[in-house]
């Protein structure tokens, strides 16, 4: 369903993604793990047509997103790392707008919205403005929206960030249910290793833009000689901390960027 061949992305001198290749099958849940700044979000951006790869090939359901942009976009749904809802509109209106943007026929959209809102336990709150939703409700609404146009692939970029364990469990149970009933391929990133261990069929670990491990959770643990995925992850990527820096120079760069165009 997803095929990536020798994918690279460089920003100036910096190699954000360095020659990675992998394949994800239909109906598979695939976890893409790595420390901060490893290149996860850059990879997702390339997979979802938001960034052009420097080199390498991507196929989503056989479509090359850099050639067949609009058709490729219709084939996937995405839940971004940061929220992307319109807070002034109600939950229902956010979904209705999405249905129009993705050309879902009206009657079909109506039924689908109702069943998704019920599944994600938001049906009773559908006429409330999204800015009044809790963090977990917003997340669930975004995931419901990602499923709305019956995509073949769903990208989830750290969907459970900042949620309590109750919301996280509920959310993964719902995603799993849809993955099974609709055979949606799920491509996710997360920092919670227990989630990846529990939910994902296969796992890839990347660090410094390079793939360092690929396989089932059991295979990765066996290869590294560890008992939990967290230990395996640390043994693969080291325990050094790499936060993306926010030094004065990078702030200046941001300010300059404002006026670049």
């Amino acid at each position: 369903m997803i095929r990536v061949e020798n994918l690279s992305k460089t920003f100036g001198e910096f190699k954000a993604v360095d020659n990675i290749s992998f394949e994800v099958g239909k109906g598979e849940i695939f976890a893409f793990l790595g420390p901060n700044g490893a290149g996860k979000t850059t990879t997702i951006k390339m997979l979802t047509t938001l960034l052009h790869p420097t080199s390498g090939k991507i196929f989503l359901d056989g479509l090359d997103p850099s050639v067949d942009k609009l058709r490729a976009r219709k084939s996937f749904g995405i839940v971004f790392q940061d929220p992307s809802l319109d807070g002034d509109m109600t939950g229902l209106e956010n979904l209705e707008l999405h249905a129009v943007l993705y050309h879902v026929p009206r009657r079909q959209a109506k039924e689908r919205i109702e069943s998704l809102l019920k599944l994600f336990e938001l049906w009773d709150r559908r006429d409330i403005q999204v800015k009044k939703y809790s963090g977990g409700m917003k997340r669930r609404l975004e995931i419901a929206r990602g499923f709305l146009h019956t995509p073949k692939i769903l990208f989830l970029d750290e969907p459970t960030l900042g949620l309590d364990p109750q919301s996280r469990n509920l959310l993964w149970a719902q995603v799993k249910q849809l993955n099974e009933s609709e055979q949606v391929t799920v491509f996710l990133t997360t920092h919670y290793m227990d989630e990846a261990d529990r939910v994902a069929h296969r796992i890839a670990v990347i660090d410094h833009g390079k793939g360092v491990a690929l396989g089932t959770s059991a295979e990765i643990k066996e290869r590294t000689g560890t008992t939990t995925l967290e230990e395996a992850f640390l043994s693969l990527t080291g325990s050094e901390i790499r936060d993306e820096s926010a030094d004065p120079a990078s702030q200046m760069r941001q300010f300059a960027q404002m006026w670049r165009r």
Binding site: L50, K69, S84, L85, M89, H98, H103, R261
Partner: protein
Amino acid sequence: MGVIYILWLRELKRYTRSRAQMIASLGQPVLYLLALGFGMGPVYAQAGHGSYIQFLAPGVIGMTVLFSSIFSGMGLLWDRQFGFLKETLVAPVPRILIMVGRTLGGATVAMLQGLLVAVVSLIAGFRPANLSMVPVGFAFMLMIAIVFAALGTTIGSALKDMQGFQMTMNFLVLPIFFLSGALFPLNNLNPVLRWITSADPLAYGIDGMRSALLAAAQSQVRFGPVIDGAVLVCVALLFLSLGAYSFSKIEI
């Protein structure tokens, strides 16, 4: 078509839902209309030009449309901040449709806001000279709204965060307003100011509104409705293409 409609509708819903903002944004035009209108009225009358409220009302309506349309175009910045922009940019629709829907929505909101101020100026004593010309006045309002909503979209696409907002306000929006002749007649100015005001698109919009709404003796027409209309249509096409171009270049 559905895409343009739903994004247009979104702008409208946002406007009607923020009642507080709607009323707050009426404060400034009402103040201009009442304080300047009645404050400067006697001086203006002494100079032999007749009623200042009559002269001022189209200017203040134009100002309202200018502010409202530029800011709704710059609503892009909010959508970028709150992430909603991403949702529309990864959708499987050409960006031009998204840009057109948003811009028309912004222009419609500006139009409504201008109509509200028009009602206020009727209460304050403004009277159109010839009722049959009122639709022409509306047409000029609409052109102002489209021109500046498109300009707002252009700026909103080029800026990456809120810091540029204040800059735009001080170095673009306020000069456009003050040099448009909204508050003073453009005839008999010194050559430099004459030249600068001729480069201000809003000057043509307000000139057009005055020539439609006021009696010939009061309107102080500078360019005339034909030139006004022609210039506004050209500028609208220019800004719409600029807006479409810069919107197509947004990266997130």
